[in-house]
Symmetry: C2
Amino acid sequence: MKLEEAQQQFIASWGAFGSHWGINRTMAQIHALLMISADPLSQDDIMEKLSISRGNVNMNIRDLIDWGLVSRIIIPGERKEFFSAEKDIWKVATQIVKERKKRELDPMLRLFDQLEEVEGDKKDKNIKQFTETVSNIRKFGLQADKMLEMMIKADENWFLGNLLKMFK
Amino acid sequence: MKLEEAQQQFIASWGAFGSHWGINRTMAQIHALLMISADPLSQDDIMEKLSISRGNVNMNIRDLIDWGLVSRIIIPGERKEFFSAEKDIWKVATQIVKERKKRELDPMLRLFDQLEEVEGDKKDKNIKQFTETVSNIRKFGLQADKMLEMMIKADENWFLGNLLKMFK
DNA sequence: TTGAATTTTCAAAAATAAGTGAAAGTAAAT
DNA sequence: ATTTACTTTCACTTATTTTTGAAAATTCAA
């Protein structure tokens, strides 16, 4: 397979993947493009390579920066800004985990703390089913939270090494 | 907090959560409703409780069944069909992992196998960056795949016990 | 069979999300 | 201070996804 074609496929596939995970397709594509680019790219480069508008590039780049996945690069002598993606996939993964945990899991767990304290007769089957469900999901969430927290802080080799041991 | 209100909040929150993960809000809400219902519900029950149309309920219920998260219940003497959700959160989680792995991770890994074999001068920095990125993501994906595979097959207590040990 | 109850389908409508491009904003260079 | 190069914003357009509801299909009981 030729490089050009492979690159296109990689970008398309990363974009499709992202869109299944609540990330907009273009944002994932820009991320993909930057990950496989040896040098930082400018907004114009990205517009051209992905055939998208300036406004679109600008907005999605900003989001990627918010997510901590892309950084602005100043190249001395150049007037333009350039952008470059974190290329260490472990760092990418932990960064995404960290953000999603903060934005989604943590608030949900806080809500569930409250929901467990529903008032009423604990023997009523509706109350029982509700508190049981919430409590079980909450326990599961706390475990997940602990594991993700650890992953965020961990060193890649330590983490993968341990997992491997566990699954041997 | 009153049961009614807590239920509403749970359903809303589960729906919002789902929509960040590529699952449509209504589908997640129906799932939430069924998880906290002590008894199986009919299509009409769901329509009424969530104020949505018959067609919508029907389609999303079918999807939930496809995902293995909900099952049809026949109640003797009743003409209608009833529906009930898996309530063991561990089973829910592994079922979701299993399906998403099959639909998303596995095809991506198959694609990456091909992409790594891009033709051309291995010293060209563009080719180098491309193959390196793809190869690293692929390795990471294979690890994740292994871990998820194990999780799918594992018993909850064994899995969580081991994780706990690992993180102690 | 017939027909009432129930489920399923699907074209059209509504809602939501994403993308555009021109205008406004900034900041370096002259 | 003004021009020029570049970045950001946002009202509007376009594309995508979700929902509706009525018609068609199915199921079951008499």
